[in-house]
Symmetry: C2
């Protein structure tokens, strides 16, 4: 086994989730990531935790969704997660478009049925990570070997140092009322974050981490956003997304490719037309776009916004949390002709922060 796999498992157990004796752990991974699952089982044994191993198979999910007439919440899966302390999930696989022929309404109906299960799962300590496999390497236009280097370099960052650097941005956002983001001709959007909490993502719930994120105040988002980066959703690429917000909700939308899929996402429920997250990427070890949200959204010269559910920890007690079965991140490239303003002050210009060299 590649020694970096064991290191990956150790980082998940020690840094990301803090697996302890007696913890009930769910490990959900595609079969191509079996090495990481094996290493995690060993780590669970070392720490006195109890693992159960779920197969994350897009082939199986696709077959089920296409055959079903409708979906109900599975009691057994809900019961599993109710008793779970730590949930570790890895992406990977030979083909990122494996579920490209499931129609958007079917996916939306499935997500609605699974909403309580998802909420239960996210209420536990969890970590989403990546196993470097051929499908995501191909998506990034990289050899599998080079992609392995890319993933494991990003995962094995010095997370303590990263947290300290990110704390400078957290401090700025914590007292802030209004954020305005401008980029090129397509993006000029304003939102309130007053009363909400900015979190320092140092590689816990997401591995790799490397962003600062918060929730927009529900109803406060105004303006237009053009998302430069495509996103893969259910194995299909949605490209050139434009969203126009009024009173916090998406009042018009468009996409240059697979707009029907975007429409399906926005039509999932009431909350899927509101922003649930504003995130600012700060991980400079992620030095290229790989068309994989887990990495792209952490890049140093990006911001991302997610339609759908807001993370409870980011929403202040006096503010309403946006709830939805969806949470779909989309990225704006801030490397050129771009500005982030907080309460009228420029805090980032063309990807460089006010507290960084070269600002």
């Amino acid at each position: 086994m590649d020694p970096r796999v064991r290191e990956h498992a150790e980082i998940i157990a020690e840094h990301s989730t803090g697996i302890e004796s007696g913890d009930d752990v769910v490990i959900r991974m595609p079969k191509e990531a079996e090495d990481l699952a094996v290493a995690l089982h060993e780590v669970c044994g070392d720490r006195g935790a109890n693992p159960v191993y779920l197969n994350y198979s897009k082939r199986a999910d696709r077959a089920f969704k296409r055959a079903a007439d409708g979906f109900a919440e599975p009691d057994h899966v809900r019961a599993l997660y109710e008793e779970t302390d730590v949930f570790v999930i890895a992406r990977g696989g030979p083909n990122v478009t494996e579920d490209a022929d499931v129609d958007p309404e079917t996916n939306a109906a499935y997500n609605r049925a699974m909403e309580d299960v998802k909420r239960e799962r996210l209420s536990k300590t969890w970590c989403l990570t990546q196993f470097p496999t051929s499908g995501h390497a191909q998506l990034a236009g990289m050899s599998t070997a080079a992609y392995e280097d890319f993933v494991w370099d990003a995962v094995s960052l010095d997370w303590d140092a990263q947290r300290e650097r990110q704390a400078e941005l957290v401090e700025i956002l914590d007292d802030a009322d209004e954020v305005r983001i401008r980029s090129g001709d397509g993006t000029d959007v304003t939102m309130s974050i007053a009363g909400n909490t900015a979190l320092n993502d140092d590689g816990e719930a997401n591995l790799p981490g490397g962003e600062v994120f918060t929730a927009p105040v529900r109803g406060s988002v105004e303006g237009e956003v053009y998302f430069d980066l495509p996103l893969y959703r259910y194995g299909r690429e949605i490209e050139g997304v434009r969203l126009r917000f009024e009173d916090g909700t998406v009042v018009s939308h468009g996409a240059e490719r697979n707009e029907d899929l975007l429409t399906g996402i926005l039509d999932t429920d009431e909350g899927s037309r509101y922003l649930g997250e504003l995130g600012i990427g700060m991980n400079r070890r992620i030095d290229r776009f790989t068309y994989n949200m887990l990495f792209d959204e952490k890049m140093g010269d990006t911001v991302h916004m997610a339609v759908g559910s807001a993370y409870p920890e980011t929403v202040g007690d006096d503010n309403e949390r946006n709830e939805s079965a969806e949470h779909v991140d989309m990225i704006v490239d801030m490397s050129e002709d771009s500005v982030v303003e907080v309460d009228g002050e420029v805090v980032q210009r063309d990807g460089t922060f006010v507290f960084e060299d070269g600002f």
Copy 2:
């Protein structure tokens, strides 16, 4: 996908388990059996059932068991099975000796910790089946392609016709008091089955099926058994097992190979020294030993006995059920110099039943 995989999934859903709308289904398979898992997900979708997909990985189990200092019952796994209606598990994989270096005491301790989980699982509708992969093909001394034919031929038997033929033996055993089994020099054992129930295995809990089985009355087994066929347990081969019974319990034992593993099984708990099952194989499509209990015990000229837990459905209301964390089947070849007597009448000689041609 091989069309026989879809047929296999249909037989599991329709004949073996009767999956219905609203059923919560656990599908546990090694990654090499993903095709069967995919087909089962499709069948679950067709029928309105809710699948969850567990990875049955001996590599992961081995890593966990070797690293752990001790074992506790995992609450999340118990909760999962409490809410489960149907449990489907397939064996398979590239190496049947994948867990050969886990020591017997560790396996016994693990099984004790999992005893309630196992009992919960077996209280549901369940099906154990085989996916034809290279490891079991090698064990059988067959090419993988020939082994695929062997497995799928046995799985796709006419189960209605098989059930009718087996009913003749069930009728004999249902009213019987005493069974005596003699084979060669090594085996002469007597047991009572009075008050217990003989079941007709037509491919439900085991696929392939093809046996009639019951429980010996606890405490009634007397005599010696030499088991001709080796058994694989935790990836190691136990060969030439001899057991001597007095008052139903194993008072001495030996094995020509890996006796320590046999000792570990017998020392698991009090019930692991009692017989929990007597089975008589009747599936003539299984035409060779493949050193795989799921198949070997169904062969027409074999009987098998299991130390450990008795199936509740086989134990009469007035009899005590033997309970144990173990259930380990062992086979006696009855093809030569062998007789099964029921209440003093010969019902099988050299593998041929009293109701068959050639008796």
